[in-house]
């Protein structure tokens, strides 16, 4: 099968969920490419729920969280929910202190928790 998009992050399809373990430094270009990649995968693979595992991400600043929320809103428009799981505790503190809220995004502290949330939403 031919892929029309460039892959930035390898993803795993589980039932109609897409698990996205982000294990790279999220710079501005990467996260924008990731956004396009995910939207394309949602449509091509008929994904109903995306799980973003950010346990390896050390810094989430206002722009990265903006793009994450934006991606979730776009996914929502395509009928797909987004769960962000395993945010590092110090990253969560930083986001909270900056007053950043992740809109249109569910959060979970484990992969199982994320799957539970998506199952409940169906």
């Amino acid at each position: 099968m031919k892929t029309k998009f460039t892959m930035v992050v390898p993803t795993i399809k589980l039932y109609d969920y897409l698990i996205v373990p982000i294990q790279i430094e999220l710079d501005d270009l990467t996260i924008e490419k990731l956004q396009m990649q995910l939207l394309n995968e949602i449509s091509e693979k008929k994904i109903r729920g995306i799980i973003l595992d950010v346990s390896m991400v050390d810094v989430i600043d206002s722009y990265i969280s903006f793009v994450l929320s934006e991606t979730a809103a776009m996914a929502k428009a395509m009928g797909c929910h987004t769960v962000i799981c395993k945010i590092q505790p110090q990253v969560a503190l930083t986001l909270a202190q900056m007053g950043i809220k992740l809109k249109d995004v569910f959060t979970a502290n484990s992969l199982e928790g994320a799957v539970d949330i998506l199952n409940r939403l169906d």
């Binding site: 505790p89 969560a92 909270a96 202190q97 959060t107 502290n109 484990s110 928790g113």
Partner: protein, 245 residues
């Protein structure tokens, strides 16, 4: 000098102190002093005897005693003795500072315990006065704990807190939203009238936190929610099975 001190030991000790305990302390010091007296590097050698003496008598008694010795004994090495005293006191002071730092660590550990109450449930009782430093330490500790244990619910009990200022209130709100970002729920209990006053003035978003009157109702709620959660989990497994077939 050594012989003079030893020969006049009894007389000197009588003049230096009244109580037996202190007399003994001075006697021990004078004997040690006589031993090192006249040797090179006197100040260094005097440090240990002086430090021992300071453990047994007060600073006032020491300085009065040294004054007396200065008067009674010719060639008493007052300068060296005082140098040794200053250094001994400096060392003692450093030891106290280390001890204070250690106690502060212990205090912060003791005052922000995090209790694993139930599977997926943590309890963080907050006791005493919260300042921004303690609030931040608590937030860091609690969040790490949640990430490690993957707790689903955190009960923060503030029964033991009598006052919250606006800065600490803001830190608490931030802590709660950080907990939410990790994907866990917060239940806040034990809010006293004064704290309720501050929190409302701060414009805390009560929708973000579940508030219960006391620990008992928080527990009831948690257990109720928890058992509901298990039922759902079972139905999910069923759904998963169907999907697989």
């Amino acid at each position: 000098m050594k012989d003079v001190v030893i020969s006049r030991l009894g007389e000197l000790v009588e003049g230096l102190a009244k109580k037996d305990e202190q007399k003994k302390a001075w006697e021990d010091f004078l004997v040690e002093f006589a031993e090192v007296c006249g040797k090179s590097d006197l100040k260094e050698k005097l440090k240990a005897p002086i430090s021992n003496l300071l453990d047994r008598i007060s600073e006032k008694e020491l300085s009065d005693g040294i004054e007396l010795l200065h008067e009674k004994l010719d060639n008493f090495p007052t300068v060296d003795v005082y140098k040794a005293i200053i250094e001994a006191l400096g060392k003692k002071n450093d030891e106290y500072l280390v001890k204070i730092a250690e106690l502060r660590d212990v205090l912060s550990e003791l005052s922000t315990p995090i209790i694993h109450l139930w599977q997926d449930v943590l309890l963080a009782p907050v006791i005493g006065t919260l300042d921004s430093q303690r609030a931040q330490n608590m937030a860091e500790k609690l969040l790490e704990n949640i990430a490690d244990t993957r707790a689903k619910v955190v009960i923060v009990d503030v029964t033991g807190v009598s006052m919250i200022d606006t800065i600490v209130g803001e830190f608490l709100i931030e802590m709660f939203s950080a907990v939410k970002l990790l994907g866990s729920d917060v239940i806040l209990t034990g809010i006293k009238p004064e704290i309720a006053h501050t929190l409302v003035k701060l414009g805390i978003d009560f929708n973000m936190v579940i508030i219960k009157r006391d620990l008992e109702s928080a527990l009831k709620y948690t257990i109720g929610k928890f058992s509901k959660g298990t039922e759902k989990k079972q139905s999910n497994t069923k759904r998963g099975d169907i999907d697989e077939n």
